[in-house]
């Protein structure tokens, strides 16, 4: 129900939104919770385990009960707290964990059987048979329990990530936070003020104390205006600081667009990483419930929340309110309600010595012993020094005291300290380096104390970073001390809830202690207390107080469980902002990309690169038809392929040759200028890292080529070797992968094609030669190398000319009966020729395994040489590279295992495996490469290939891996 004249909502801007299919009206400034309460809707959810009807408990992010699904065009978000979701026109929400409806929930039957469903029930009941757990019990329990549902679709909403830096991060904008921010702002420091709510003010908004004799809201508005006007201050509302990390880094989640209808380009949320030289935590305190029998009915709320709804949103949570508390503060709830014209049935104060003077009945030494009302509170039973009583009431405002919001101070393993004066945990000093705590978060519950502490914290923090801040005039405020007498639970017949979100009662905690789970961490896991989306914000301290009592220890000895980030749930979508689908990694495109796409080549991802798979011609129906044609084209005419993706590293300096001798197994210092040599590189552990060709461009100038897959890896390896083994050498390395567009020209007509393109005809240019060349007046480089087994060249020009040269090469090749070829044909050509790729040098093979042990020079040392000589790295027992040949056409069987004919097929009997497979149009056979135990001695043997994934069982002939032109005559033609 709305109260006229109360609240800060904009009554000129009515807003309609939907909850469970019904349209309700609220106002600009409302949350779903405040708007529903204004519409007299108290039932907002069902509990996790017993499916009990539940209403809103709090007015903040700690809300355990009122969790909703918000349904939008691009996403369906579960577990949204009704207290945090602001209403906007068209907002569509629905309740969770109920079937068929919120008012009648079939699984409410769990509640009837609740005494069988106590903590540990599942562990004890669903133990046998063991196999049933995963297949039957767990899915069944998960369906019965649980909260919101996911849509099963991608979240296509737009999210954002960002970095921010400041001198002082102020977390929270209540009196302490505002005083800290204002002090630091006037000192000229870079300040970020992060506030979880949509408005600054914290409890000043909810409690409406007077500052300087005027409403606190006026002071808040003045300070906010000043802060927002300063260039050195960034005010971030709707921003929850969710975690404290090393070196002054904080995570924060900003609700950027969750309070408005979706708009193009507007992020829903932004995940901030804020690096602050110093931080002041002024996050306030959270009020805690009292565990009395049947304390979970809709209408039973926190006293502070009742105050918030009244003062911030002009809503009374009931027509006849009762207050039950163990401290003075909750009296304000009764007084303010009465001042607003709401009937207060009674104040139940658990303290016998408290004041009885109020404008309503006050019961001292009082307890609530039972409640009634299935879908909403109707009445309570109580007792006090004078006897038992019953009160008709539709709202019970309870307060068991306040817990300072210590969470962030525990994120780096700090443990809070028990303060008996306020019966609460307070932060340990210095728990997070550079973070100080001020105000209610530090256990100071007076407005005056908060203002002064916030200012002092800012001055001290800034002094540490060399900024002198002066005290600013602070408004006069009350300084009434906080009086509390602990009351954790009320014994009685019914269940008394501690953790509303996970349905944990005092009985569950006692049972945990009784069964030996007496450590607070064990109790948490046994009962699931504190493990719901609210992470036990309302229940942790009360639960451990009950545990302390049950185990006969004090609260400080019992201790708390560990508070970990995040403080409130953070959507994975925000942390992975921009990373969905193609945003997952950078896309790399070659200069010939558009030319390939123009020819309808399907592009495949090779690492981050996109490369043409094949170039279909009209009439070709399958990739194999195109691939076979391209292979034959290279073998009989000429083919052009973009090989720019291979890594290229420019190596210069007087020690360049010496360096290459160190990193390669073979020798490069003896390579003549204008020649290319194939090289093999080992990791420090002796296994093969990469292979490729390196050209000597000048006396002290080399150009190394790496595989596409290992380009970055090799660059890193070389930098590492340079920096750790020979930092003083005259040597400089830089990647030039991106600087050159390089194209393979291969086939019997390769030379003719080049002569049609190059500015001067090619003279004597033998196999493994390299040199400068010129194309259309542009200086380029030419290498005579081949990855296809044919006469092959690679021509390179600066990248900006790449597309132009590719189009020209292809057009001229086509005129000669050739054309472009893609990755599929490239793969077939290299398998036919027996050339390895990272399918073979996959990180577990040695130079010996691939038949290149002779390339490890005996005359010099190299990286990995010693380790490659370890026992077990060479020998008959090693799986060695072999070719496999099969005359019938089959499905590809890469990854299949090899077995000796006539022997068992099983993991232990595996003789090796297949790494590369293709159909060779040239040989009319399936050709494969693989590794076989003692394989080089087994050429000619028939071996069994079993592919369990593709259900293949084949016989192939073991042979030399080089099928095509074993003598290399074509290369040298």
């Amino acid at each position: 129900m709305r109260i006229l004249g109360k609240g800060q909502i904009d009554r000129n801007r009515p807003i309609s939104f939907r909850f469970d299919g019904k349209t309700y009206q609220g106002y600009q400034g409302d949350t779903v919770a405040s708007a529903l309460l204004a519409n007299d809707v108290r039932l907002m959810g069902r509990s996790f385990k017993y499916h009990r009807p539940r209403g809103v408990l709090t007015a903040g992010s700690e809300e355990p009960n009122a969790l909703l699904e918000v349904i939008g065009a691009t996403n369906q978000t579960p577990n949204v707290r009704a207290t945090m979701q602001e209403v906007f026109e068209g907002l569509n929400t629905q309740s969770q964990n109920r079937f068929p409806s919120l008012a009648f929930d079939a699984l409410g039957v769990n509640d009837v059987f609740s005494r069988f469903l106590s903590a540990g029930f599942y562990y004890k009941t669903f133990m046998w048979p063991r196999a049933f757990w995963e297949k039957l019990y767990e899915p069944m329990i998960r369906r019965a329990a649980g909260l919101g549902r996911l849509s099963g679709k991608h979240d296509e909403g737009h999210y954002e990530k960002a970095y921010a830096f400041c001198d002082l991060l102020v977390i929270g904008s209540g009196p302490a936070g505002l005083a800290a921010a204002l002090t630091a702002a006037r000192a000229g420091a870079d300040v970020i003020l992060a506030e979880e709510d949509r408005e600054l003010g914290g409890r000043l908004l909810a409690d409406e104390p007077e500052l300087d004799g005027a409403p606190a809201r006026d002071w808040v508005a003045t300070v906010e205006a000043e802060l927002r006007g300063l260039p050195n201050v960034r005010v971030m509302t709707r921003t929850t600081v969710t975690g404290a990390y090393d070196n002054g880094t904080f995570g924060a989640l900003e609700r950027v667009g969750l309070h408005t209808p979706a708009r193009a380009d507007l992020p829903r949320e932004c995940f901030w990483r804020i690096v602050a030289k110093r931080a002041v935590l002024a996050a306030g305190a959270l009020e805690r419930p009292i565990a009395f029998p049947m304390n979970d009915r809709p209408g039973i709320m926190m006293a502070g929340a009742v105050r918030s709804y009244l003062n911030r949103w002009g809503v009374t949570a009931g027509k006849r309110v009762t207050v039950f508390a163990n401290n003075d503060g909750a009296r304000q709830t009764a007084r303010q309600l009465m001042a607003a014209g709401v009937e207060v049935a009674a104040i139940l104060d658990s303290r016998e010595d408290a004041s009885a003077i109020e404008d309503c009945p006050v019961y001292l030494g009082a307890r609530v012993t039972d409640t009634s009302g299935r879908l909403g509170l109707r009445a309570i039973s109580g007792s006090h020094v004078g006897g038992d009583f019953q009160i008709e009431t539709d709202c019970l405002a309870m307060s068991g005291g306040w817990n300072p919001t210590v969470h962030l101070t525990c994120h780096l393993n700090g443990r809070p300290r028990w303060n008996a004066d306020i019966a609460a945990f307070v932060p340990s000093e210095g728990a997070v380096p550079g973070l100080s705590v001020a105000g209610a978060a530090n256990g100071d519950f007076t407005t005056h104390g908060c203002l002064a502490a916030g200012q002092a914290a800012a001055i001290a923090a800034l002094a540490e970073i060399g900024v002198t801040a002066a005290a600013v005039p602070l408004p006069r405020a009350e300084g009434v001390p906080y009086a509390i007498q602990p009351l954790w639970l009320v014994e009685g017949k019914g269940r008394a809830w501690l953790d509303f979100a996970n349905d944990v009662t005092t009985k569950d905690v006692k049972l945990s202690a009784q069964e030996g789970f007496t450590s607070v961490e064990h109790m948490k896991r046994y009962t699931t207390q504190g493990m719901a989306p609210d992470q036990g914000k309302s229940s942790n301290v009360a639960a451990l107080a009950v545990l302390a009592d049950a185990t006969g220890r004090g609260i400080p000895e019992t201790g708390t469980t560990t508070y970990r980030p995040p403080f409130t749930p953070v959507s994975i979508a925000s942390m992975g902002a921009g990373g969905r689908a193609e945003g997952f990694a950078p896309q790399r495109f070659t200069t010939s990309d558009q030319a390939s796409r123009d020819r309808h080549a399907p592009m495949i991802e090779a690492g981050l690169w996109y490369r043409p798979s094949y170039f279909p011609k009209p009439g070709e129906k399958t990739w194999r038809e195109s691939c076979d044609r391209e292979v034959n084209m290279v073998r009989s005419a000429v083919g052009v392929s973009d090989v720019s993706t291979l890594g290229k590293i420019d190596i210069q300096g007087k020690d360049a040759a010496r360096f290459l001798d160190l990193v390669y197994t073979n020798t490069f210092s003896t390579l003549p200028v204008s020649r290319v040599r194939y090289g093999l590189m080992l990791r420090e552990d002796g296994l093969v890292l990469d292979d490729g060709t390196t050209a000597r461009l000048g006396e002290n100038h080399y150009l190394m080529t790496t595989t596409t897959a290992a380009a970055g890896l090799v660059m890193r390896h070389l930098d590492f070797i340079h920096q750790t083994h020979c930092a003083d050498w005259d040597l400089r390395l830089i990647s030039v992968t991106e600087s050159w567009a390089q194209f393979a020209v291969a086939g019997p007509k390769a030379r003719a094609l080049l002569n049609a393109v190059l500015d001067a005809p090619l003279g004597d240019f033998p196999f493994m030669a390299c040199g400068e060349t010129q194309v259309g007046g542009v200086k380029g480089r030419l290498f005579r190398i081949s990855f296809s087994g044919e006469e092959g060249y690679e021509v390179a020009v600066p990248s900006r000319y790449g597309e132009s040269l590719f189009r020209d090469l292809v057009a001229k090749a086509e005129a000669m009966g050739g054309g472009p070829y893609g990755m599929e044909a490239l793969n077939v050509l290299r398998i036919e020729k027996g050339f390895i790729t990272h399918a073979e040098i996959h990180g577990r093979t040695t130079a010996f395994d691939i038949g290149m042990e002779k390339m490890v020079s005996a005359k010099k040392d190299c990286i990995g040489k010693a380790m490659a000589a370890r026992p077990g790295m060479v020998g008959e027992e090693r799986e060695q590279l072999v070719g496999l040949k099969l005359s019938q056409e089959t499905k590809a069987f890469g990854g299949a295992h090899l077995f000796t004919q006539g022997e068992a097929v099983g993991r232990e009997a595996s003789q090796g495996y297949v790494t590369s497979v293709c159909w060779s149009p040239m040989f009319g056979a399936m050709l494969a490469m693989g590794f076989l135990k003692n394989g080089r001695a087994r050429h000619g043997e028939k071996i069994r290939i079993v592919d369990h994934l593709r259900d293949l069982d084949l016989i192939a002939e073991v042979c030399d891996p080089v099928f095509h032109d074993p003598k290399g005559e074509k290369l040298r033609a």
Binding site: K161, Y163, V256, P267, P586, Q587, F589, G777, S799
Partner: protein
Amino acid sequence: MPELIAKTALSDKKPATFAGTTLAEADPGPVASIALFPGQEKALAKALKPMVFPAPNSFTENGGVRLVWTGRDQAFLIGAEPPALDGIAAVTDQSGGWATLTVTGPVAAEALMRLVPLDLRPTFAVGQAARAPLGHMQSVIFRTAADGFTVMVFRSMARTAWHEIEVALRSLAARAALI
């Protein structure tokens, strides 16, 4: 004899403006890495005149030609062909290997601070340069004006860089429209 046509990485992209801030591709002309050989500081200083080899995290400028620090004993000479530096420094052409983007306008720093984990507020002054990740890419970033940055990324990744910076600018424009 063919005529080769030069193309920058993003030749099909027109400048895009959001929140008063413009993302555009620039053609900086020649780019060469100059990597000082050990002990050649004085010789290099002499050979580079009137250019000055930059201190770490900065760039120097002379008549529109820039020398931008890009690593230990390494800088990129942008906008002019390199002088002869045989034996003094390793000179490597990088011209086409990098795509050059400029981000100019009131929210340029804020947009880049969505992708780059550096404090790019005015403390990162005109004349400063950095090697820093831009999303998942490596980049060279330098401030050329109070409201202007130049960002260099690998040519092959230019489209991703453009997309990510554009999304950041669009988000900022949408945020501004919210108030």
